[in-house]
Point group: C4
């Protein structure tokens, strides 16, 4: 049957994916409290819709870092999409381009970033910083050259976490060559092993270093506090991406939507604010947008849709979300994104 919502894709993907891959994708750190809380915290929020708002012509389009998108819902980076579907990141990027939304390629993609760029559309590059700075610089330069429009620096992964589902099944199930590294180069091969070669000592100086290497806007992904949001603004980042890595890093971290409010307030409009973690419905999007997010991102749901039906699956998932968001904006009496503010949420 045709999926009606993103839960349907997830249920189908659970049947299709290899158990090891499934554990890797759907699991989180330790007790998976934050994993569950991300979705639950969205569902606890209540909406305060307005009536007679002339909401017949809903327009969910906006711009992200100056680039137009058809809606404020994008694709978050997830590693090794080739494990979900042979089309991998290229299929995902094409679906995003077709839908007019931003696609964020992961450093840990199955395909090289240059291949993914063939998918067209608005693309950002998610960057992990390795202890090997030359390797890192190379990634930045390649992404800049390949037409990516922003560097999304993940800051919540100085070290890897303990993901017990993976450990019980054997983590090797999800390993595989990452397309961005040349298997002929030892350093690159080492880097490709999960997180163990990330630089755990990164500080705020990293922002200046990125600026010195690329003209691209810098997005910090993984901030969940007002304190860090203020520091990010002081360091001149272009955008703050509220995220707890989908509950995959520090378990018991505050739920993404609960962190959004203080981050958006602290940012005070001086940087764009995004959020991921638990978005499964257009309703989740409208809650986040009302509370100060300029865009929301989906990670696992896009991965599941890719697993179900490749590019077409991702396309369908995005159109379901678009329809849900437009419906929610009409029913909430907010025909444009500018109409939304925290008073729409209780």
């Amino acid at each position: 049957m045709q999926p009606l919502n993103l839960h349907d894709f997830e249920a189908r993907a659970r049947e299709l994916l290899d158990p090891g891959v499934l554990a890797y994708v759907e699991g989180g750190a330790l007790d998976e409290i934050t994993l569950r809380e991300n979705a639950a915290a969205f569902q606890r929020r209540r909406l305060r819709p307005r009536v007679l708002a002339g909401a017949g012509d809903v327009d969910p389009s906006t711009t992200l870092l100056g680039a137009p998108v058809s809606m404020p819902i994008g694709i978050a980076p997830t590693a090794r999409q080739g494990l979900a579907h042979a089309g991998a990141e290229l299929a995902m990027a094409r679906a995003a381009a077709e839908a007019g939304v931003v696609f964020t390629a992961s450093t840990m993609s199955t395909m090289p970033l240059e291949t993914i760029a063939g998918g067209g559309g608005l693309r950002w590059f998610q960057l992990y910083v390795f202890e090997d700075k030359a390797l890192t610089r190379s990634l930045i330069e390649r992404a800049t050259a390949a037409g990516y429009r922003a560097l999304v620096l993940t800051v919540d992964t100085p070290v890897s976490s303990k993901r017990e589902r993976d450990l019980r099944l054997g983590v090797q199930a999800v390993e595989g060559v990452c397309g961005n590294f040349d298997p002929a180069e030892p350093a690159a091969v080492a880097a490709a092993s999960i997180t163990s070669n990330f630089d755990p000592n990164m500080t705020w100086d990293i922002v200046g270093w990125l600026r010195s290497l690329s003209p691209l806007p810098v997005v910090l992904k993984g901030i969940v506090t007002a304190e860090d949001a203020r520091r990010a603004v002081e360091h001149g980042v272009d955008a703050i991406w509220v995220s707890n890595h989908g509950g995959r890093q520090l378990d018991r971290t505050v739920a993404a939507i609960d962190a959004l409010e203080e981050v958006a307030t602290a940012a005070g409009g001086r940087a764009e604010v995004y959020v991921d973690g638990g978005v499964r419905r257009g309703l989740d999007a409208i809650v986040a947008l009302a509370l100060g997010a300029r865009a929301v991102f989906i990670g696992r749901p896009a991965y599941y849709a890719l697993a179900c039906n490749g590019q077409a699956g991702v396309h369908d998932a995005l159109e379901i979300l678009r329809a849900e968001l437009i419906n929610a904006m009409a029913l909430a009496g907010a025909p444009s994104l500018r109409d939304l503010d925290p008073s729409f949420v209780r």
Copy 2:
């Protein structure tokens, strides 16, 4: 066995109704969070009864828009009652008249509004505004001519919502000709299809337009915020009907009883305030009345009672509610509705 409460009617109706009709009636939008919350929010409220109040002679009678009713519990509009029972809206109206309570006929009734008027008693007409204004005007004029005493404009349905139970079963199960439209006229036939021809661009100007067409009092149904309550009062509406459409429109909308308080406060006595959504017990009624409602309305419960036993079923359901309300007023030490205030609820 004779039903003891409204839950009994619901349980029995679940056995009797066609699965498609049942899905249509009992379902809500998307994840059905608001659907469940409507009832749960009532059950979370606690009462603070007073003793030695001389509560032997309880009088639950009141007036609604100047017309006397035997109790502040009325029938909310629900579509296509013919799917529940052959007696349809006429049976429901007769039961309401017999009980001395207000009956609200839906634009989407199985029977023409003129036929329903044959049921006698105090009747209001629930109005959907179509893009075809001539069609809409005709409905208003017919309702006015047929002795309906108020126009209840539904304002929470600028567009239809996604109701996944219906989609999974096939929505056609609940379609059928609506008695208010002439199947010989193409525009009317189109209008009769669910919500797709409602005017999504209605604004507050609609209130003036209604005033220009009919001398009837205007009730806005579907308001859940203080902001909209203030605007409604500014536009001179006669009553505000707090509702989230039984959880069938914007999912995650605040529960009806939780919205009531801010609406009643904002209305400040300048318009009557009603509420529907989750009323299953006389206790729900007393909570709402204490928090500022002048009346509460039941939708699904009346539909289920109709399905169980036609006019007699609805009559029995209303008498059960009446007995529960009178009992609650006596036990709470509030022999008249004027005695109730927010201090009775914690």
Copy 3:
């Protein structure tokens, strides 16, 4: 096996009692929300024990209305104890006397109040006021003459409630002649039918009327608000008994322990304050005592213990509670009841 706690008595009594009697005893009004909340609200409270308090010699004795009791836990009135055990109220009264606690005889006792008086010990008489004032006066005079030491006027039952368990099983199962009424007198027989002849129009004047008929202290049972507590004090009552009738009258009434705080504060020491509803452990008692109660009362638990083993069962239940209370006082660092105050509860 020897019962370890009051739950054990309840479990055993469920096996022993006739289904109709069990439904009558364990059931509550309507959805039984208050019934469940009474116990749950106690369990939500947290204790803040103090250490090194020299708590080796715990003394739980106190006085109630000037009369000494061995502990601040008494027997609440429950009707028709003969349905639980042939020993009925006399067995219950003897157990209470043996334990040195107060026993409250119900107007609706199986045995005449004079027979119950043979049990010795400190006895109070629970009074329902009938529309037949001569009948009521007779009860008062008989109780006074028979050595009862207080009149406990139930004020939460101006009318009966809807108890659906009883209705489903047929309420006649629990009827039976009440020993306080002469079956040869028609008025008395009528009065003996459940609650239907209670005076629903009682007001605060009843306090003065009781005073005019008897020198006994007056206790009002069934108050749950500060407003009524203040009025009770103004009318000079000797004690206020916080109760929602064990969840058997107005469903959704605030839980007994949650009502206690505002009542105790409002009473301000000008009347003794008691509470029943949900007491199952010595821990419940210590919570209530810390929050301002001078005594707590058990209803159903004593009934279950009587059903299990007559006088000996009630005795055992009381000794279990005594041991739990003494243990709790020692572990909380409050060797006398005077040491307890609201700071012991969070």
Copy 4:
């Protein structure tokens, strides 16, 4: 399979332990509300991690009462470890010494305290004060002589509690000679019976008495309120150990982590503050450390690990906790314990 976390040890130990021993170890007092709440309250806390903190080199080492430890997680006293494993306390002490953490020997140990001292490492002695003061003095003198570095006086056990699991199974299952008492001496044998000879009348004077007998630092274990924390500081104790005895004494006592905040605030740095009760993850430790604890202690988890695999099991459990704590500090952006403060917890 190799245990991944402390839950795995517990699950395995449940299979290995004698039912009576298991009931004794895992059970709590009465309804076991505090037992469950200890763990649940930790899991309700949310973390607010900081990014780009240069957290590559995490150092969890600290000092406790001036003595260095490799991490702020120690072993709480538990009785009769010989019932878990033949290695008993000596195995546990050796594992603690190997891991560089503090081990607290119980007065009720299976082995004599002198034998346990053979395990090396930093050892504290948990003291119960008996009515027989000579016996108590002897224990203090022996512990001082045997190189224990602190006296941990348990203050939450003036009397024993009712543990219904034990009573249902028969408490004798967990009895056995305690190694600290000479079975040839009647007083000692009596003392060795569980708690019944503890001094229930201890007051704050006990602190001075301990000082007069030993130069060792004094730790009071079992404080859960700000009031007692202030008194402890006034009496010059060296450390306050927040504990509700693992839910084994006064049921419904506030959860350990919830008590920690007020105690830490009241102590104001004038005494070290520790906490036990519900610690199962490095995440629990970081929450407690952020809220003011200088160290956390594990009781049951160490017992279970001992049951599973003796010294090696305890060692593995400690290393799992160490890895989890280090991981949490890195991911929270707090490379040293000094970086943690209450703003890390929400």
